[in-house]
Each structure stands twice: as C-alpha cells, then as structure tokens.
Amino acid sequence: MKTYRIIKLLPIITCLLICTISFGQDKYIDKNGTIVFEASEKLFEEVKATNKYATAIYNIETNEIAALALMKGFRFKNSLMEEHFNENYIESDTYPKAIFKGKIVDFNATKNLGETAVEVDVKGVLELHGKQKTIETVLTLQKVDNIISMTGSFVVSPSDFDIEIPKIVRNKIAKMVHVNLDFKLIRK
C-alpha cells in the first residue's frame, strides 16, 4: 500500500524536480559585485567607500533582481571615516546590511538581452538602516556568453533613511549620495 502511494506520487516529484532544475538555470549570480558610494563636497576630503563583495541575483525569467551589501564591507580610504560611518551614521551593529529587491519593468530578457548593451528601467525597494525607500533607476545590461554585466547608478539622501549628519560635519558631507554599481553576474 505504502509503495503504491509513493509510486502514485512519483510523477509529481519528478515534475517538482524538473521545475526546480529549470528555475535554477535562469539565475545569474555575482558574489563579488562592486558598489561605490560617494558624498564628497568640493574642497573637503573625499567621502567615498567601496564594497567589493556585494551579492546580486538576477532571474532572467521573472526579471527580478535582489542585491545585498554588508555594511562592514564598505572600505574608506580614511579609517576614522570608516569607523564613524559604522558607529555613528549607518549603525552597522544594529543594521548590518542593505538589501535591494526589485524588478526590471517591460523587458524581455530572452529576446532583447545580448552583446549590444541595453538600458532598462528598474523599480524596487532599498532597505537600509531599518528604513525602506523606493528606488527607480536605469541600468545598463549586456550579455556575453554566460556572463551578464549590470551597471548603473542612483541617488539617495541620508535623510531618506533617518541618518542624521551632525552639524559640525554637515558642510563636508554632500546632501545627495551617489551610488554606483557594477555587477558581473554568472549563470548558475
């Protein structure tokens, strides 16, 4: 009786297995994505940090994008600035990561993604410092063999995420923070 039940379930199990395998093939992953943010003001020391191990996942079937950056992974030239960024502004002990979840709108990856670079619209939510903000921007996509290059930028402000800049340094940190991203996603 028991074996019969399993046999009856077999087609469903195989179906599920095939589904997960085929879903798996639509994913492109980068574990070493680069995210740079800059909030420099002219005449003052540059306020710029780079994260070279951000994660990005792009599902070409559903057009969904997910990206994650660990706050401690952002490296500054000036170590004191890095310390202040972590302790006073971003509070990385309480909020260790930034997560973006979004989607490329009106784009057919299987048809339009190739060796010529294309610009696509992306809409999603960035969560950072316990706050969420909707981000809409343009990304450039290009696919060569099994690698998709995804580059782009957007602008945020510290106040969007309830990050208060003390008066004493307010004129040394730009109100608008430019974020640049550069991902090389490999087929998984």
Binding site: K52, Y53, M71, S79, P96, K184
Partner: protein, 130 residues
C-alpha cells in the same frame, strides 16, 4: 627677560607641534592589519555559518579576526568558497594558484552573513595552511 620670552615661545611651539601630531595621528590613523592581529575566534566553517545566521550571537563575531578551515568548493573572480558556506576574499593572494577540493585554512575579518546566498563573508584573509 629676553631669555624668558624665548623659552615661552619655544615651549608653545613644541606643545603645538605635539598637539598637531596627535590630532593628525587620530584623524589619519592606519587601517587595521588583519594579517598581524591575534585570532579572536577559531572555529570550523559549518560552526561559523551556524553562529552567523543566528542574529542574537552574530554581532559577537562581526569585525573580529576569525580562523577557519574547509575544502575549496568553488573559485571565482577574487574569492574562494569553503564547504559552500564561507566566502573568502584575500588581501593579496592570487586565487588562480589555488585548486578546488584542496583543504584550506585561513585567517581573516568576518564581514557578516549574506542571507541571499546563505554564506558568511570574510575579507582581508591570509592563508594559514601549515
């Protein structure tokens, strides 16, 4: 009298100089050198993943010098993955020299837990294989 003023001037210049050096040293202190720092925690790659995925204890390990080891499961770009759970980025090791399935022992800074890929990220690592 003149001698006294000269002393005062010399003293103030010296104090100012020391102060300036102290301020400069504070503002532009060197980055940490993980390779020469003492190891804070030494644990297996699976144990490290298990503690890092638990929010209540992960804070204790973040930014600390960790020593761990495992079998290389993948090598890509500048990073090496150990036992599918630890992603290691080195300071200046050429990862193309490493071979998959070799056992590697490393020391580096724990950056945090990546819940998209379910891996612990370690940076500024050095190889400590005997």
């Amino acid at each position: 009298m003149k001698k006294k003023t000269a002393y005062i001037i010399a003293f103030s210049v010296f104090t100012l100089g020391v102060l300036a050096c102290a301020v400069y040293g504070y503002m532009y202190k060197e980055h940490r050198d993980i390779a020469t720092e003492e190891v804070d925690y030494s644990l297996s790659s699976n144990d490290l993943k298990n503690v890092m995925r638990t929010d209540s204890v992960s804070g204790q390990f973040i930014d600390k010098v960790i020593k761990t080891e495992g079998v290389i499961t993948s090598i890509e770009q500048n990073s090496v993955v150990l036992n599918n759970v630890i992603q290691v980025n080195f300071i200046n090791t050429d990862v193309s020299m490493l071979k998959p399935e070799a056992t590697l022992s490393i020391k580096g800074r724990c950056v945090g837990y990546d819940d998209l890929l379910e891996v612990v990220k370690i940076d500024q690592a050095t190889i400590t294989n005997p």
